[in-house]
Assembly symmetry: none
Homo-oligomer: 237 residues x 2
Amino acid sequence: MVAQMATPHYVRIKQALRARIEGGELRPGDRVPSENQLVEEFGVSRMTARRALLELAESGLLLRTQGLGSFVADVRPMSSTTQIRNIAEEINQRGHHHSGQVLRHDEISADHERAIHLGVPSGSIIFHSLIVHRENDLPVQLESRLVNPALAPRYLQQDFSTTTPSAYLSAVAPLTEAEQSVEAVLADQSTAKDLDIKTGAACLRITRRTFSAQGVVSLAVLLHPGDRYRLGSHINT
Amino acid sequence: MVAQMATPHYVRIKQALRARIEGGELRPGDRVPSENQLVEEFGVSRMTARRALLELAESGLLLRTQGLGSFVADVRPMSSTTQIRNIAEEINQRGHHHSGQVLRHDEISADHERAIHLGVPSGSIIFHSLIVHRENDLPVQLESRLVNPALAPRYLQQDFSTTTPSAYLSAVAPLTEAEQSVEAVLADQSTAKDLDIKTGAACLRITRRTFSAQGVVSLAVLLHPGDRYRLGSHINT
DNA sequence: CAGTGGTCTAGACCACTGG
DNA sequence: CAGTGGTCTAGACCACTGG
């Protein structure tokens, strides 16, 4: 009589609290219901109520203090690296011309690691695309993207020479969250060929996982020639 | 008979697993003990063993899959792009040992470009430091920093083998703002020597300008070996 | 003091993976 | 099938905060 697979209790509680915060019912600094109050309100055990509060705190939405309670955090504005931008828009914004060349656009079987990152069963079919983005005919990004077919079933029918995966995906599965990591790597032979640079040239590699409300949407690996791209950001403390 | 305030059980289990991973007993891709095995081994309840595994997964050290088990992730140190963090703190937080080796620590005359970036008259005296930061004796950052003497007049008197420029500067001229850009470059001969990597290896270069209420405090160029460092960030939309 | 969050137990049923 | 992680309960003792 536990664990309805539909939506776990702790998720329901998180959603409810999130709604109150986003709806303005709970404002920054306000105290949210205590663990015991949530136990009463949602008819769950304290461990379950607690999990909802802990996860909201983990994601920065709440601040918790022993003896005091849990409070809505003061949200701070995001800086510009912390914004997911569409490469085509970015290029157009500079007054340049964007073009996308689709090298691959098919489905593959997810190996163990990819399956974990995408949150799909190991061995299941996922979509894949490989696209070179050019700014005034100069390659600036090689985009390799794995897509969760459950959240973008028509991904393979899109024409990515006229739009971008990023634009399409944010239309069909609105972005709620993203994780990314940035590294420096050397171009291997195949990457070098695709980006029209030398093998062994420095590249910036951005690995990004995007989430919608339903889960992981896609896993993108973006490779940029080191001398044609950099990431800027402005931080306010 | 629970909750010895010394160290909670789940922390002890995390430490034990971390030690096995860092000691090489468990390598990337290996399966770590299951929840039930930890129950046996540490004499705790499954909820407690589970918490240890969940937190290690949360911090990126493990990957978990239902039905399969928990596996050691392919890890590298991560740092956040959305936050200016002190390299020493970051390293200590990972439970590792930080050391700083001061290669240069002197004053120079500002050329035109540097003067502009620092907001000082061209040709005036500015401070400079060059420091190798090591994580457990492995170089992870070469920090070259130019400092505005008006805002940190005693910069040259500091001992940067025991503290870091970042820590000292944020004490004397609290950070209000920062601008940074991130690029991929190849290590030149001198950088390669300082970081103990090969000439031509991929490096992440972060160029950061920090501001206090009084103006530009410093201009730092941080070079990281590509295979020993990456920048991570989490974005909420 | 009553209320808060922090840690923990010993059970339970479930979905999922491999063999 | 046995084993894995995912969710959940109904209790417990604790340290900490404010009044």
